[in-house]
């Protein structure tokens, strides 16, 4: 199903592995070279900047070509239906297929742009086709629309193994489950969180199972994305804030205050506060850094959820305490892991913080902190003060 040359994909993985070992000092330069020669990769794979540039240029070129085509066809009235978008989307899909096959583009920007344009056009066509006739008849077209888009995105995921597309597929799957279960009626609305939780848990375990199979290794990154999305959805399905929001939405209640009429409130509060900790503990036990990271981010979400309903302290006090706590934790971890313990270390083992990452971090520092320090010295005196930041933002 995957469009790329499988031998090359395997070789690419070998090369990356070997380079990682080389960076870690396990392979000498003279050993790396024959490995690379014995396992060649024929893809056209530019670097990140070239990829971005090619992406932008392909978008400009394609959109102008399609507008020009539409302009020429405008007098015939053919472009006033969803069929025109479907047509353009199919042209784009075919062009993508042909280009990737003949030119061996792999993460080259050109294929990314064409894939997203094709997906966008096909989505618009689907929405138009199913949505137009349904005005005034409620939201019945949501389910078929999300189903068709799910099929489209699933096709692109399988064919091009694109990670972002796999995230979208995953979200659409949850949308389909949501809209299907909504059809059940009030019972469906009441049990919605549990259904979403069950689906998310099943999806997570399925992805975990698939990831171990050698057959699926081309989709490894996509499956990791599926794991991440399902873990996050599993949490959000029981998050108190989300529950309250959805509860109001599904029952057509408009209120600014705290949600009313949530049954099993304590259960959802426990879910909100404890699940992130569970993720972290499980991650530490399984040595799974992904679980730990998701747990940490969701823990922050849990704190924000809590603060939405209970204002136990002022924002600035919370910030100070939180900041000190973070610094103390970081210090403690560094101290504790001075020599690696339980297979954890605080040292950057793969040397991934190479020169490029450092540079990006430096730019990020200037962009986030640049203003706070400039404010007291030059308030109101110099209108164009954010120009330096503008230069960063405008960087390609």
């Amino acid at each position: 199903m995957i469009i790329y040359n499988k031998t090359w994909l395997n070789n690419l993985q070998i090369q990356q592995e070997a380079e990682q070992l080389h960076n870690a000092g396990c392979l000498t330069h003279d050993e790396l070279k024959p490995i690379k020669e014995a396992y060649p990769v024929g893809f056209y794979m530019p670097g990140p900047f070239a990829r971005t540039g090619l992406f932008l240029l392909t978008c400009v070129g394609t959109s102008f070509s399609f507008s020009f085509l539409s302009l020429m066809m405008s007098s015939s009235g053919i472009i006033d239906s969803f069929g025109w978008f479907l047509f353009l989307g199919l042209i784009c899909t075919i062009a993508l297929e042909v280009l990737v096959k003949s030119k061996h583009y792999y993460r080259a920007g050109i294929n990314d742009a064409l894939m997203w344009i094709a997906f966008g056009l096909l989505t618009v066509a689907t929405g138009w086709m199913l949505g137009v006739d349904n005005y005034g008849t409620g939201h019945t077209h949501y389910l078929p629309t999300s189903m068709i888009i799910l099929v489209i995105s699933f096709y692109f995921t399988l064919r091009y193994a694109n990670t972002i597309m796999s995230i979208i597929s995953c979200l659409l799957l949850f949308a389909v489950v949501f809209f299907t279960w909504q059809q059940v009626g009030s019972f469906g609305n009441a049990t919605m969180p549990f259904i979403i939780m069950i689906v998310a848990a099943l999806l997570y375990f399925q992805a975990t199972k698939l990831i171990k199979k050698a057959k699926q290794r081309y989709y490894e990154e996509c499956l990791i994305m599926v794991q991440i999305v399902s873990l996050v959805i599993l949490y959000l399905a029981g998050n108190y804030f989300v529950i309250g929001y959805l509860n109001n939405m599904l029952n057509n209640v408009v209120t600014d205050g705290p949600p009313t009429g949530i049954k099993l409130g304590p259960f959802f509060w426990a879910w909100t506060m404890l699940l992130p900790l569970l993720y972290i503990i499980r991650g530490v036990m399984k040595k799974n850094i992904m679980l730990i990271r998701i747990g940490l981010v969701l823990f922050a979400v849990a704190i924000f959820t809590f603060r939405t309903y209970y204002h136990v302290m002022s924002t600035e006090l919370a910030m100070i305490i939180g900041g000190i706590a973070l610094l103390v934790i970081a210090y403690t971890i560094t101290r504790y892991l001075k020599t690696p313990k339980h297979r954890f270390t605080h040292i950057d083992i793969d040397n991934t913080a190479g020169s490029d990452n450092l540079k990006l971090e430096a730019l990020f520092t200037a962009a986030t902190l640049g203003h706070s320090k400039a404010a007291p010295t030059q308030t109101d005196r110099f209108g164009g003060g954010n120009f330096g930041g503008g230069g960063t933002g405008g960087g390609f």
Binding site: L21, A50, I292, L326, T334, H346, E361, T365
Partner: protein, 326 residues
């Protein structure tokens, strides 16, 4: 990839015994690094703490008293720098490895609180009077000194932005801004000068080999600031007969940076100058076609925007290959 594969390579003789044992050892006690998490914690912690303290100070300015706040900020600054000086490695013209991961962040915290200290002094006691040039010049000097002495790229970037502020403040006097009659060409010229100065500093960094890894920052800011101000100058003085000179400036500067980037094999700079030149070229085309009305001009626009991306894509692919081979 599994260990079997490297076993095979070892059997074939591609990998030496020594390397293979290293790989096996690495596989046997594969470590999980929480490096990224610890760094994120430090960064977020500093951000939260400084912001929270800032809010507290702002809200309680009447009760705490300025001296107490200033003393507290000074204490943070001094303790951070005390730590950093104690753990600092001696100055070198090359890249200096940081002693530990906390070092960079404590240095950043110290620097930021120093800046707040200076800003506070100026705001509350107007130490520098109305001499705003001096008020920004001293922090700038400090920033550059810290960046070079401690080898901190983030602080260098802060210094560069501060340099811009200082130049802006010196060139556009307060009165002009207050009376709302300030001349835009002055700003454009200032920024052009700023950008060119940065490019020159970047060139000098490479030439003299003082902290050569800083060159990227100078060039990054210099390139965008000078090319944007050249384009801005062109559009601002669109109707003047010399407007085209600005565009010529874009092309000349782009060409110079391009040549340097080819030498450095930096695709980021190449793609940047190509995109800026593309904007310049396109605006030139629009200028030429404004006098033609009707469908003819429209078709030309469309054909241009269909054909030019394709040409550029081919150019980028060609350059990318050229750089990889070189």
């Amino acid at each position: 990839m599994d260990q079997e594969f490297f076993k095979k390579l070892h059997a074939e003789g591609t990998i030496s015994d020594e390397s293979y044992s290293k790989i096996e050892q690495r596989h046997a006690n594969a470590l999980v690094s929480v490096h990224f998490e610890v760094r994120t914690f430090l960064y977020l912690g500093i951000l939260l703490l400084t912001t929270g303290l800032g809010i507290v100070v702002y809200k309680n300015i009447d009760t705490i008293g300025h001296q107490a706040i200033l003393a507290f900020i000074a204490l943070i600054t001094i303790s951070c720098f005390f730590y950093c000086y104690k753990h600092k490695k001696p100055f070198s013209r090359d890249k200096v490895q940081t002693p530990n991961s906390a070092f960079n962040y404590l240095l950043l915290l110290g620097t930021l609180s120093f800046l707040i200290f200076v800003g506070y002094l100026q705001y509350e006691y107007t130490v520098f009077g109305s001499n705003y040039g001096l008020a920004t010049f001293i922090p700038m000097l400090a920033l550059f000194y810290i960046a070079y002495d401690f080898d901190h790229m983030g602080i260098l970037n802060l210094g560069i932005t501060n340099l811009g502020i200082w130049m802006g403040v010196s060139v556009t006097p307060k009165q002009l801004l207050l009376s709302n009659t300030f001349n835009s060409t002055t700003i454009i010229y200032t920024y052009l000068g700023f950008g060119l100065l940065l490019l020159f500093l970047g060139w000098l960094t490479g030439k003299l080999q003082i902290k050569p890894h800083f060159k990227f920052s100078y060039q990054h800011y210099g390139l965008h600031v000078s090319l944007i101000s050249l384009l801005a100058g062109y559009f601002f003085l669109y109707d003047s007969p010399f407007a085209l000179l600005w565009l010529a400036g874009v092309f000349v500067l782009s060409f110079l940076i391009y040549r340097d980037a080819i030498k450095q094999r930096s695709f980021y700079f190449i793609i940047s100058v190509i995109l800026y030149s593309y904007v310049a070229l396109s605006s030139l085309l629009f200028r030429g076609l404004t006098n033609i009305n009707g469908d003819g001009a429209l078709s030309i626009y469309f054909l241009y925007f269909i054909a030019s991306p394709i040409v550029l894509i081919l150019l980028l692919i060609y350059l990318n290959k050229k750089i990889k081979k070189a």
